[in-house]
Symmetry: C2
Subunit: 393 residues, 2 copies
Amino acid sequence: MEECILPVKDTGLRGVDVASSKICDVQGKEGKLVYRGFLIEDLAQNASFEEVCFLLLYERLPKKQELEDFSQSLKLKRKVPENIFSFLKTLPFDMNPMDVLQATTPLLLQNDPGVGKPEIENVLFSAENIIAGIATITAAWDRIRNKKKVILPDNDLNHAANFLYMLNGEKPDDEMIRFFDTSLVLHAEHSFNASTFTARQVASTRAHIYAAISAAIGSLSGALHGGANVRVMEMLKEIGSVEKIDAYINDILNSGGLIMGLGHAVYQTDDPRAIIIAPMSKRMGQIANQPLWYELSWKLEKKGKAAFKAKKQREIFSNVDFYSASLFYAMGIATDLFSPIFAVSRVSGWAAHVIEEQFAMTAPKPTLYRPGAEYVGNYCGPDECVYTDMDDR
Amino acid sequence: MEECILPVKDTGLRGVDVASSKICDVQGKEGKLVYRGFLIEDLAQNASFEEVCFLLLYERLPKKQELEDFSQSLKLKRKVPENIFSFLKTLPFDMNPMDVLQATTPLLLQNDPGVGKPEIENVLFSAENIIAGIATITAAWDRIRNKKKVILPDNDLNHAANFLYMLNGEKPDDEMIRFFDTSLVLHAEHSFNASTFTARQVASTRAHIYAAISAAIGSLSGALHGGANVRVMEMLKEIGSVEKIDAYINDILNSGGLIMGLGHAVYQTDDPRAIIIAPMSKRMGQIANQPLWYELSWKLEKKGKAAFKAKKQREIFSNVDFYSASLFYAMGIATDLFSPIFAVSRVSGWAAHVIEEQFAMTAPKPTLYRPGAEYVGNYCGPDECVYTDMDDR
């Protein structure tokens, strides 16, 4: 292993395979995203979020009765412990929803009788409890901070529809439900991104899944990770009109900056999720009578790509955040809920990774993540510093 | 970097240097532990926990006035937001203190006006706020779950003494304060262990320090990490008397099990912290009129080492958990507070690592941890699975 020490250091482990996994494949060159053997296009076209959750957790698509049972089981877990609501009401209204979500996720274990038990059935129960609970808390917090009445879940609705209902207090129409459901499918999983790696790492200590997923939410809250589509939206607002796109791109290129939502750590072509989400953003903009954001987006994409090619001799591609921003915005969702909604979806992938980390039998049993670091010492030497009397310092 | 991919996979990154760091050196072969250039023996002998916090955060020992200011600043942050107490009172009394701590850490940001701001001064303020706040919450939760009145902090006392006071409701004597203070010094930092790596990873996404430290607490809650001294205590209770030690060791060796607290992932000799903590455990046992636990410990260590050498032809060494268990127990601390107390101390190291991750200028700017994984595909192939009608499954 010795020869690996130098090239890995301070690279953020970019390109280093730390584990084997059956959950997800991201083929950056080809622009392929695969959940457990299924291409994302196939799932986005056909599967509901509940179906994708089942696929991620159970490694195969559900039969009809299994999906009904699974959906029913999620519904039974939508009601979160009452003290979470009463607690949310004591928080300052400007508290960031991601902080609220990280803090409240461990509290969901209050209605989980098998938490911490080593059997996989218990962890699957917990996974469902968190998938259902996080959606309820996210919607409830948005109601509470806006001084609105909390809306209790409606079990006639599927996961996507119920979330929008709990958020807005009215039942969304079928097209909006479908778009939101597809968004949840698209964001559900993306291999070893930072938050997923955090979840796996916490799980590797044999901490329970609530601890792992709360930690992952903390990771997702970082500006370099979950916050990207918020910054896309801020950028679109800053540009504000089609006429200003050229000047904006010019400024960015001259200052060495980036166009938010163009470029991705892994994809070297258009993010397949961006291709799926773009027409949804367009249609949603029409429905909401806000066509500007989509129009800005696609013109910015087209012109931005051309400008990068001309000026920098390199190609740049749109990622999922580039169009999810305008989609969610047209749905009337507050921008600081974009990351929590990312979590509402990604929790399914995190849960699958926690389970793989703790139970995978095909791969060599994963071991606690415990890397090293090169110690570079202090001003007085690597270990020659001597405690001196306080008056002599 | 290609040649690194295979040997790193599924090893938990053991032995792989992922970063350079100025904070801590663990020399496993020599049994040396170094905080910022200072040997642990020197610090344990001379420095208070507050002084070590300053050293870890500011990279040098404080001058007299600096230490006074720093201690005062910590004291001002001991009072946590009132809604945390009222919330704790709504929790089920059997909720694990580590879950409570992970959930409440993000709530400490309520009295932090600079949270999320990019200047290092703000993060240092936050670090103090968390160091002070976690101690208060840990003690308060233990009081609340035992249906006792919460004890507010006493600013005449130092950090160690105040913690014991808030926990027990009476001022501890000087010897106990010194032992507890030294324990905090010994547990403050240990390089890239699992929880610290979690904190750094969350910090690498540019999430704030509350998110990173809450995540680290989740990591520490795992049985393979923070829970070790709890299991040492359970083992000591199971053995129960000196006469049963030989039979216990025999059973362990024959069943291929481990003696808890003997053996460490890094040290190949006695853990220097165990050497420092053992006589404290002995003395505390005498004071508390409970000499049994120390006696069991050192006899088990002696006999266990000899038996391993004879039967397995390998040496085995005591680690810090081996004697901290009997020390904390003799102090009258509940076993499920051992890990939270670990957190009360280690929070100082985590904070130093978060700051290094986000502000280090000597090392190459650290980058978001985003490793890869080898995708091993699903039963229907790597990406050839096809969505079929639900009735055909």
